[in-house]
Symmetry: C2
Subunit: 340 residues, 2 copies
């Protein structure tokens, strides 16, 4: 027997799925007449109300899939912790995959998760992902999808992010208020939205404070998590600009720690000679000398929220309720320490 869905009833009666659902659940905000029409048609079509559809629901795998770009990464470790905690509450299991910042691998892993029949998927995109067909495939398979942190703006699904642009804007405004004007930016790769947004926030803050944007002060770190990238770019920066630079704002704390290492090796004082501001508030930011100012991104909460949304959507789907993609922007905080 073909399963009758709320959607079919809604279409037949030319009303919304939400109204059908509410009518079946006897919500007071549905008119008596509409309610009767829904109940009659449901009866005619042999619709099985969800309270009796437990056995159908058992077809759920009670498993979600999670793809992160890297596991050896303080921020993503925190996100994973938040996801596992939330999954635990719902008795869900989590299949973890890492794309290793590799688009092809990410695509393959999406296929694996779809073939495995997971109930929902959470992804933080690899830096190399600039084609989103694999994400569309998830949506086409009617599997709830939540993107977090590194997202694709154009894909129609729920997203959990921090306002990277505002956070970067706040950092650079703070540095300007402290009297710095020649502020370099060690930016991330060109693809990721968060790398773009942090760069745009940096630029906007300069312009809003009447400081000309100087593209020669922007250095590219291809691997945000590579301490060496910070070290070698610090060397380049000094070669290019000497000590005319007042401050550096980096895409991640790891890059900033590479700079600290270079400056320590070359007797450049932080913050006296050059101030420093990181991003992500890794554990080591608080313990390194000088302690590093950074942006707290609340990875744990991001994981928790992303999982929460995917479970909501899984529930909606199984209750034949429509899924409305949500965009959640989590607050960030500037953590001011000795480096600036």
């Amino acid at each position: 027997m073909k399963t009758i869905t709320l959607k079919q009833i809604a279409e037949e009666l030319n009303i919304s799925v939400t109204t059908v659902s509410k009518a079946l659940k006897d919500y007071p905000d549905v008119s008596k007449k509409t309610r009767q029409r829904v109940l009659d048609l449901a009866k005619d079509l042999n619709y099985i109300p969800n309270s009796f559809a437990v056995s159908l629901r058992m077809q759920q795998s009670k498993t979600i899939g999670v793809i992160v770009p890297a596991t050896v990464h303080h921020f993503f470790s925190n996100v994973i912790k938040g996801i596992l905690k939330e999954a635990e509450k719902k008795d869900y299991l989590v299949i973890l995959l890492h794309s290793n910042e590799n688009y092809e691998l990410e695509k393959k892993q999406v296929d694996l998760l779809i073939s495995k029949g997971v109930d929902g998927i959470l992804i933080s995109l690899s830096n190399k992902t600039n084609n989103f067909e694999h994400l569309q495939k998830i949506i086409d398979h009617d599997i709830p999808l939540v993107l977090f942190d590194k997202i694709a703006k154009t894909v129609k699904c729920s997203k959990v992010i921090v306002d990277d642009r505002k956070a970067a804007y706040d950092v650079v405004s703070h540095l300007i208020k402290k009297g710095h004007r020649r502020i370099a930016h060690f930016r991330g790769d060109l693809n990721p939205q968060n790398s773009i947004d942090r760069f745009l926030g940096y630029k906007q803050a300069l312009l809003d404070h009447d400081i000309d944007f100087d593209p020669t002060l922007v250095y590219m770190c291809n691997n945000n998590s590579d301490f060496e990238d910070g070290y070698s770019n610090a060397e380049k920066l000094l070669k290019d600009h000497g000590k005319t630079i007042d401050a550096i704002f980096t895409i991640t704390d790891v890059i900033a720690i590479g700079i600290i290492k270079y400056f320590t090796d070359h007797n450049i004082k932080i913050p006296e000679d050059i101030a420093l501001f990181g991003f992500s508030n890794w554990f080591m930011a608080s313990v390194i000398s000088p302690a590093l100012s950074s942006v707290e991104q609340h990875g744990y909460e991001m994981g928790e929220k992303s999982a929460h949304i995917v479970f909501q959507e899984i529930d909606s789907k199984h209750n034949d309720m429509p899924i409305e993609p949500q965009i959640v922007v989590l607050p960030t905080e500037l953590i001011i320490r000795d480096s600036c």
Copy 2:
């Protein structure tokens, strides 16, 4: 029809399972006579050789379960990376769970994984686990089990560890050779085998170098990953012993970093006043000031090896070959930096 196993054939003929397997595969080191006896019985019993048993093998879930005590942990992040890499090669998926150092949760998660029908399980035990019935349950369900890093000696399964005792012995011997004699140990919790072994290695090195073991120099850190535990114990140590201490050997780098913070705040010079040696070689050990000497535990290789063994055992099981538990001891390395 009941499936005939190699074990039944072996028992019937009173020879080993390995011999039966080799006979069926036409290995040259099985006598002609034995080979014929095996083939005849296999035919009589309607044994399905494995080359035809592909459909049976399809019952595999192609999924393994992994339980770690924590995810926000540099060492375990590396282990997870190694496991994911190895699983990828074999087209296996990994269900990740964290026990949060909680025995009850670990037990519940084992039940979940068993009920889920995973093909194999990898566990690093929580610090609070001192009853191993849940591990025995896995073995009784005939599911390949590999314990890594934090293991239970008495459980009959494969194990991947580092020689914690030897590593600790080497650390303390190194400190003694550098002229230190009053060496404190900030140890871990009482349950975990690695905490016990590092303590025993410390003690043995003292004794072998004719230094009396002084129990008042041993401080307990209940949470190895809690930087505050290092900070507060450093305070206690100085209150108890003043600056009579030459060096401190800590159960983990995080504890050592807590000590560095306390010493920096109180103007105690490392290594001039007190030398310091950590364990695990976290990323930050190399970037903190002073750079911290530590023991490299090769977490990535541990994950890779553990997964490799579980896949071997899954294969053996599906080929009706006996599983011989292995104990793999991975080498460690002393990484000498500025702190000693």
